[in-house]
């Protein structure tokens, strides 16, 4: 056992943090009119968009690397659809054995395609679903869903954008009745991506998505806590920095403890996907999502609280963190759903052990 990031992993983290800082919006107002094209190209050029995808498909690195990158981008609340329009669709296509040309276009940053999710079941939507949402889909011109026959994957058109809560991510409706031509295949095969998504592949993608979403949440927790600690050191009341008051110190110490726990379970979840069996990886992924959803919401709320009246204002970044946290927490279910899944997986395991 050697439970620490390697030097290469730390270098990757610093490199992504550097890119995120360089491309960061300088204020909340700047976020609203942010153009992510330059940062997207830099991420693509550095290979970050294909982390954890096999080299034969144009990817590089490990799922742990992908998790490290997601955390670094979450920390800066970077407004790029790193998970939604790169890692999640690329991994889905790879797991289903679908169109390699589209995977290549995704990891090289030439094309943005999201994944269509049924918001009632959190399953990957199909053409016959009633509705589908493309999460984290800024700049996407298509969404991947199951074909009406339920086997292969297809690309459908992106529909209308939702007003959205999170200033750093977009959610679009999918236009399930219109195929999107992402492969250049004409006529009846328009939008066919091929492949087949069996139960294990879908479970694996689902676990990966939970683990990487948790990684983003860990980053959001890091960035939000750092903001509050800085504020507590500088904001003075009663003639002293508010961070000298025990009420503030204990509130922030509790959040730091939660952040450390969140980072530990999330790091393990990402690693498990490549080094443990599917059942263990699923349990680790649900554990990470449950922990981050529960602790992350409380942490971001505490960060707003420490900012006092300033925390209620549009200019203060506290709400940017809170909103991104609520976006991540809602996506694929909050902690209550994942606690339930954990209970199911563990009692199944216990029955098998008897």
């Amino acid at each position: 056992m050697d439970v620490q990031f390697s030097e290469e992993e730390l270098l990757l983290r610093d490199s992504i943090l550097g890119q995120a800082d360089k491309g960061a919006a300088s204020s909340v107002a700047a976020l609203e009119s942010y153009d992510d094209a330059a940062l997207w190209d830099r991420l693509a050029a550095s290979g970050a968009l294909g982390l954890g995808i096999s080299e034969t498909l144009g990817g590089a690195g490990s799922v742990t690397d992908a998790s490290i990158a997601a955390t670094a981008l979450g920390r800066a609340t970077t407004p790029v659809p790193y998970l939604g329009c790169a890692l999640l669709p690329a991994h889905l296509l790879a797991l289903a054995g679908a169109d390699p040309a589209l995977i290549d276009a995704l990891v090289s940053g030439r094309r943005r395609v999201a994944v269509g999710i049924d918001p009632h079941t959190w399953a990957i939507a199909s053409e016959s679903s009633a509705t589908a949402l493309a999460w984290d889909s800024a700049g996407a011109d298509a969404a991947v869903v199951r074909g009406a026959d339920g086997r292969g994957l297809v690309a459908v058109a992106i529909g209308t954008p939702t007003p959205g809560l999170d200033l750093t991510r977009r959610v679009h409706r999918c236009n399930l009745s219109r195929r999107a031509d992402v492969t250049g295949r004409p006529g009846a095969h328009r939008g066919d991506l091929g492949g087949a998504l069996d139960g294990d592949a879908e479970q694996r993608w689902y676990a990966l998505t939970l683990a990487l979403t948790a990684a983003d949440m860990v980053g959001v927790m890091e960035g939000a806590l750092a903001l509050a600690v800085e504020h507590a050191k500088t904001r003075e009341q009663f003639g002293v920095p508010i961070g000298s008051f025990q009420a503030i110190q204990h509130l922030l110490a509790e959040q730091h403890t939660s952040l450390e726990g969140a980072r530990s379970v999330t790091t393990y979840a990402a690693w498990s996907l490549q080094h443990r069996g599917l059942d263990d990886a699923r349990l680790a992924a649900h554990t990470a999502k449950a922990y981050c959803a529960d602790a992350g919401k409380r942490l971001c709320e505490a960060v707003v609280q420490v900012h006092g009246g300033m925390g209620m204002t549009w200019e203060c970044r506290a709400h940017v963190f809170l909103k991104r946290m609520m976006f991540d927490r809602t996506f694929l279910g909050d902690e209550h759903l994942h606690f339930r899944r954990i209970a199911e997986l563990r009692s199944r395991e216990a029955r098998r052990g008897l």
Binding site: M1, D2, V3, Q4, F5, S6, E9, T64, V229, A232, K233, V240, P241, G243, S244, F245, Q246, I248, Q249, H250, L252, A253, E254, H256, T257, E260, G261, A262, S264, V265, T267, Y268, W271, S272, H275, T287, A290, Y291, D294, H336, F339, R340, I342, A343, R346, S347, A350
Partner: protein, 373 residues
């Protein structure tokens, strides 16, 4: 990042599993029978020592095995997996002070007995007026030729009624800053002038005691480190005590989590609460592996062990409550006294080894860098 066993670690795990299958210590005595509890733990420590499982990360010169601290974690995981809630005996933290600050003669004299269970130890730190504010302790040690004369009172001293030795903190200088005037000693508990009075605890046991020192003569050769070096020594002891590794808590938690699956089955509220506890224990276990990896790299425990301790408190208290809730009415009627006692003991975890509030102060000031008042 690698959570997999190295070949040596895997071989160790296999050997340990094989040994545990033939050496189950049996169910522990009730938590409110402290004498039986002490005898059980001491016997288990001797059995483990004979099997070669005690002091895994200690130098072999003193009876240890020269392995890195990850082996302690594997040991605890496997005990938990085997359903043995009584983990490694807590030999670690007092010994660490003797290892770090003692002379070679003192190490040779004390450490082997501490590891093999031949001697029992207690920790004479806290006093009636010095709990969280440990540095204000007032028990005095006056130099008188080749001895010190110790007078004062210690409180919350675990296992003092069974101990052969005490690692004692006493004040040798009343004038300077309070942190600088403290000195550490090893004191034989049968020295004339020592009176031990066990205290009955909320759960009915007598895990800790009051200890009175009335002009107790301690040879100068039993001073650990220099005069005035007691505070940094205490900091080492407490940092190790806070790291859950020596406490073996992970073994206990894993065994309890397994037991509780059946008790919560079919009740959605209980199932969610148990899943929450499972998640809390996982965070504690995985964070601990990171802390242990840092120790393998040669870092001594610092303020980060307060985070381990805080994660441990969350796990401990979640489990204590869950077990009480699962027992329900029998916990209140007294039909299930052991579960009620387990619950009450879980409340002690946020007090012993430095209270939860002190740990938060440490995290806020020494990790987050918030200003002291």
């Amino acid at each position: 990042m690698d959570y997999d066993d190295s070949p040596d670690e895997a071989a160790f795990r296999v050997r340990l599993r094989e040994w545990l299958a033939h050496n189950d210590p049996g169910p522990p005595p009730p938590i409110n029978d402290s004498a039986a509890e002490h005898a059980y733990k001491r016997q288990w420590q001797r059995t483990l020592y004979a099997g070669g499982w005690v002091g895994l990360s200690w130098p072999s010169a003193y009876g240890g095995h020269d392995l890195n601290p990850i082996y302690e974690a594997i040991f605890n995981e496997e005990l938990g997996a085997a359903g043995i809630a009584h983990a490694a005996p807590p030999v670690g933290w007092l010994g660490r002070a003797i290892l770090a600050y003692g002379t070679e003669e003192q190490r040779q004299r004390h450490l082997p007995g501490l590891l093999n269970g031949a001697t029992s130890w207690c920790q004479g730190f806290s006093e009636p007026g010095a709990g969280s504010d440990l540095a204000s302790l007032r028990t005095s040690a006056e130099r008188d030729g080749d001895t010190y004369r110790v007078t004062g009172q210690k409180l919350w001293t675990s296992g003092a009624q069974f101990a052969d030795w005490c690692l004692l903190l006493a004040r040798t200088d009343r004038d300077g800053p309070k942190h600088k005037g403290i000195t550490a000693f090893t004191v034989r508990m049968d020295t004339p002038g020592i009176t031990v009075r066990p205290m009955k605890q909320a759960w009915g046991g007598t895990r800790f005691c009051e200890v009175f020192f009335d002009d107790v003569k301690v040879p100068v050769t039993d001073r650990i480190g220099d005069e005035g070096a007691g505070w940094p020594l205490a900091t080492v002891v407490l940092a190790y005590e806070r790291g859950p590794s020596e406490l073996g808590v992970i073994a206990t938690y894993r065994a309890e989590l397994r037991t509780l699956i059946g008790a919560s089955a079919g009740d959605p509220v209980a199932e969610e609460a148990l899943a929450r506890a499972y998640v809390a224990v996982e965070a504690c276990r995985l964070h601990l592996l990171e802390s242990l990896t840092r120790r393998v790299r040669g870092e001594a425990p610092g303020p980060g062990s307060s985070v381990d301790k805080l994660l441990m408190i969350r796990s401990e208290q979640a489990l204590g409550s869950l077990e009480f809730d699962a027992a329900s009415v029998p916990g209140v009627t007294g039909a299930d006294a052991s579960t009620a006692s387990r619950y009450l003991w879980s409340r002690a975890s946020s007090v012993y080894g430095g209270s939860e509030q002190i740990q938060r102060n440490i995290v806020a000031q020494r990790i987050l860098g918030l200003p002291r008042t």
